[in-house]
Amino acid sequence: MITRVARALRQTWTLAAHDVGQWRRAPWAVAAALIPPVALALLAYVLTFNLGHQPIALVQEAHGRYSDHIAGIFRAQRGDLYTLINADRASAMRLLDSEQVAAVVVIPKNFDAAVARCPALQPDQVIHDYTYARSGCPAAQLQVTLNNVNHNFAGEIRRALSETVAFFDAPDVITPVSETQLDMSDLNPYRVNVMTALTRPNTVDYIHYAVIPCLVLLILSVGVMGTALLCARDIERGTARHLALAPVSSVVLVAGRLLGGVLVSLVVIVPTLALAAWTGVIAPPVGHLPALGLVLLATAVCAAGLGAVLGATLRGARLVSMAAAVICTYLFFLGGGFTTIQFLPAWLHRMTAFVPTSYAIDGLRQSLFYPGLHGFGPDMRVLLGTAAVAVVVGGVVVRRAWSR
């Protein structure tokens, strides 16, 4: 019994090693699998730097106490909310016209006088008299000219400007302090003090959060395309019939093929991870390494199973590579690889529950970024279940294709 099992394992390994060798000797297949994840990682990386910091021109026509104060707030918030260019009115409008800035903010000459007409609240002022509010005290106006080319873009600028203006009147509307520290918001005209509490001990910067899931896409792309191309090539060249007639159990043959697909993924992902760890791009806690390994392995098995189905169903390497690229891209995007799932509308958010890559990406993020493995167990149950289904379905489809 042991001898038979050992022989079966050896045969499985031989077939898998042969597949890996074949894949390594096909540089274009390797390129086809690597290009989409590399391009998406690059896209995510560059977008992180370029979005959300719109260029704004500030025209300061008044130079009193309040004008200088609000101009100082603009300068203090540049880099976080927008990039700021100081200019005179005519230059600013030219910059707006040539799309070098997205908005022009003018602090008008009467700004200081207008602010002075509406005094700030006093600490001991208890207001019951609504006539104060409706006394016609005109607030000072910042004049904003906005290139509102689309809703999202314009909304971002409006919000950033509103944030700056709010800081003028109520710098402490948000206080991330402990409950025991009483607010200093007696002067806050908004009359609310929002105390934020974060649910996680650390916050991951967006570059890592957005780029790291490309590792999942890399495994998917290499695993799906590698296995699919190996299967398709067997059918194209007619070697599938030889395999079907070989004096080896079909379970061993199919297991060898799927193991080959998994190994192909690992051949790519292991050096990539090593390089990322060496350069400091990732630094998983030592205790999380088994979890990280499990996520990657389970994803690779899923990819091999899916690739087997694809390769045995479609005819021709070109079709296989195209279909694999499309499927992997959908799985990646719907799994939250390029977005934060929390942002998605409810119906789409619910849909991601049926996308196995969402569990792989979540598991990967948990094991790389967060001290605890919160939700890792359920993620792995779904992912391993999917891997088991993919292996069984892939095995059956491949075996049938060989017999045709």
């Binding site: 297949a29 602010v115 509406c118 106006q141 509102n148």
Partner: protein
């Protein structure tokens, strides 16, 4: 003249038959193009309305108004009313990104203009989300105070918009994506047609042809171009019907898309000549399309990315194409260049790409 036309027509017919026989290839190519539209739509959906639970322990009119203002201010929050335990569960499951607890007595405090503290729990899953959620609060508080004429508000902003009818984010994105969809479809089909000639070794027969060997290849590229134009029309129709976007200048839109098909077919032919293998082409073109996406001004006018990326953007035809399409569909001006200049640039690109493809193919075929 007649042998040339015969060779051109022969190439066209041969490629057309080839494409008819590989319908799945055409379907998958169109699927790739539609994938681009879907991807940018998903990306567009994530730009706003962060799901946020509001636990209203006050129940008063002003508390409800606060939540409504929060929901309406710059599309930051997608507000969902919940009780405390459901909100906590939703936060832990990742169904909401934050929970705002409006305390008991909120309405009374606001009516008397006295201070009150509001608790806000945020799932700081990443810096971007945390930032987004936290940044929305001061504008919401300000909007609430302004709406209720609270005293002590000393500064407001008076806005003048350059565009009278603001375009939604997704309609904006899908129009840009049309140019890139054209690249995916036309580039893949043209590159595949050329690469197949190399793979199957039929170039040797073309050399023996009485006409110039590139003429039948040009015929093949005309066929892929025609199919690509049809496929891009399907994508454009999807944008019109599915997204409800109606072109303001249909002629400019159509000409812009047609020029895209021509340019990208030529670029595809060039890629096919260089790679000479069909297998990696679709992945390569998909990857290149993502790179074009970066600096073509697909999300917002490219110049706002900064001067360096804007200058790089000029080296890509997608930059001019997006400028023309945004003008054609939405009537927007998203590049500092005027529309005639963008058209001239695209035509130059078409000539340049055709010349480069011709030279590349001639070098590969004739020599």
């Amino acid at each position: 003249m007649t042998p040339t036309l015969t060779a051109l027509g022969g190439g066209f017919r041969a490629e057309f038959q080839q494409l008819r026989r590989s319908r799945l290839l055409v379907v998958l190519t169109i699927a790739e193009a539609v994938t681009f539209l879907m991807l940018v739509s998903i990306f567009g959906l994530t730009g706003s309305h962060v799901p946020t639970a509001v636990v209203d322990r006050d129940g008063g009119k002003l508390a409800r108004q606060w939540a409504q203002v929060m929901s309406a201010t710059y599309q930051t929050y997608g507000v969902r009313y919940m009780d405390a335990s459901s909100a906590e569960k939703a936060l832990n499951r990742g169904d909401v990104a934050a929970v705002l607890y409006i305390p008991d007595g909120f309405s009374q405090h606001m009516a008397h203009h006295s201070m009150i503290r509001i608790h806000f729990r945020v799932d700081n899953v990443n810096a971007d989300l945390t930032n987004e959620v936290e940044l929305g609060i001061p504008p919401a508080a300000r909007a609430f105070a302004v709406a209720n004429h609270f005293p002590g508000i000393r500064v407001v902003s008076a806005e003048t918009d350059l565009v009278p009818h603001e375009v939604g984010f997704i309609p904006y994105l899908v129009v840009s994506a049309l140019a890139l969809a054209a690249f995916v479809v036309a580039g893949t089909l043209a590159a595949s047609a050329v690469a197949r000639e190399f793979e199957t070794g039929t170039l040797a027969y073309l050399k023996l042809s009485p006409a110039h060997p590139l003429i039948p290849l040009a015929g093949r590229l005309l066929a892929t171009g025609a199919v690509s134009a049809a496929a891009v029309s399907v994508s454009a129709l999807l944008v019109v019907v599915g997204y409800g976007v109606e072109p303001v200048h249909p002629a400019a839109t159509a000409v812009g898309l047609l020029l895209c098909v021509v340019i990208f077919s030529c670029i595809g032919a060039g890629i096919g000549t260089v790679v000479q293998r069909a297998l990696p082409l679709s992945a390569l073109i998909f990857g290149l399309a993502l790179t074009f996406y970066l600096d073509s001004g697909s999300l917002e006018p490219a110049r706002f990315y900064g001067n360096r990326l804007w200058v790089i953007g000029h080296t890509s035809p997608a930059y001019y194409a997006v400028g023309i399409l945004q003008y054609g569909v939405h009537g927007l001006r998203v590049t500092p260049e005027t529309i005639p200049v963008s058209f001239a640039a695209l035509i130059c690109w078409a000539l340049l790409a055709a010349g480069a493809a011709w030279l590349g193919l001639r070098r590969a075929v004739v020599t």
